[in-house]
């Protein structure tokens, strides 16, 4: 099951670390935003329907990963949120992604641009990155205009988790984790080693829960994009760069600038 980058684990016995799902910000629902940006807009799409469309496509292609997301143990206290920062703060994160662009099409906030370009450098050349980056900016402009509808007037958060749960029930799989405890991440890991991920719960347990780490399996993003847009490199790059930018912006929104970056490759 696809997991979020969240460093908190679930309560209870440690998960079987031989079969852990990849970690991307927000799990599959955020990946589906990159799919929308690459595919193009429709008149009635929104973040929840895009997730459902993307998941159906993954299933129809027989791809070997299960769409997933997470909530947290505080959900009962704030039912309007999911407990996943990458989803609950989606509007703020998208705003940080948009800060990258100036009115004349230049680059204003170099941080998102440079970090995303550095992550992308293992997967595409600079020219391809720049083309995709500006295409993402165009999509962010469209998203700004359609924001009310796309984010269901702010009601998208709990709807997404319900949609992910429904998908899991349909195939008899658990698709929503419940993170427990406080955030205690000390590192931001970017993992570029294909086929490998992070034993999040094991690391946290080894510190008696005093330290955790965010982990972004960046290698998985081009794999997903190749699966969906096999013969369409431009679309593939847009889907990838959207996710790279989203991951960077998520870290910027959720953390205070004191977490160290670890690049694993």
């Amino acid at each position: 099951m696809v997991r979020c980058i969240d460093g908190r684990g679930e309560d209870g016995p440690l998960a079987n670390n031989q079969n852990l799902g990849t970690q991307v910000p927000g799990g599959t629902p955020v990946t589906s935003m990159g799919y929308r940006f690459a595919k193009g807009w429709t008149e009635d799409c929104n973040i929840v329907s895009d997730f459902a469309e993307y998941r159906a496509l993954v299933e129809s292609l027989g791809l070997p990963y299960i769409s997933g997301a997470h909530q947290d143990e505080h959900n009962a206290d704030h039912p309007e949120n999911t407990g996943c920062g990458a989803i609950d703060k989606m509007l703020e994160i998208v705003a940080v992604m948009r800060e990258s662009q100036t009115n004349d099409g230049g680059v204003k906030n170099y941080r998102v641009y440079e970090y995303a370009k550095a992550i992308a450098s293992s997967h595409m050349d600079v020219q391809a990155f720049d083309q995709a980056f500006y295409a993402v900016q165009d999509n962010l402009d469209t998203l700004e205009k359609l924001s009310d509808r796309y984010f269901k007037r702010g009601q998208f958060r709990s709807d997404i988790v319900e949609e992910v749960k429904d998908g899991g029930e349909r195939i008899g799989e658990k698709t929503v984790e419940t993170s427990a405890g406080e955030h205690r991440e000390v590192f931001l890991m970017v993992n570029q080693v294909e086929g490998e991920t992070f034993d999040r719960d094991g690391f946290a347990a080894s510190t008696h829960g005093l330290a955790q780490a965010f982990n972004y399996d960046a290698w998985a993003v081009p794999q997903r994009a190749r699966d969906i847009f096999t013969d369409e490199p431009a679309k593939r790059h847009i889907m990838m760069v959207t996710n790279f930018m989203y991951a960077v912006a998520t870290a910027m929104v959720l953390t205070d600038g004191s977490l160290e970056l670890g690049i694993r490759q």
Binding site: S121, S122, R200, S206, M252, E260
Partner: protein, 75 residues
């Protein structure tokens, strides 16, 4: 970008080697104003010192180094 900017090694240079972690500084999130970053997830040394019941920030720094070494075992 400041010195916080990190660069990926050339792909051809790394394909021959086992996986390694390169520590690339702190994420520059542009939050210059404390009112913006207060309350966000933090690994500042005073927090690490308190969380691990350490006596000073030098020990907190050492603890972070220990965690950097141990995280390799979980990836």
């Amino acid at each position: 970008m400041s010195e916080r900017y990190f660069a990926m090694p050339n792909q051809s240079e790394i394909e021959q080697k086992p996986a390694e972690i390169t520590w690339a500084g702190r994420l520059d999130n542009g939050h210059e104003n404390p009112a913006v970053w207060r309350g966000k997830i933090s690994a500042n040394l005073p927090f690490i010192k308190e969380r691990f019941s350490l006596t000073n920030e030098a020990e907190a720094l050492k603890k972070l180094d220990e965690l950097k070494a141990s995280i390799k075992e979980f990836m």
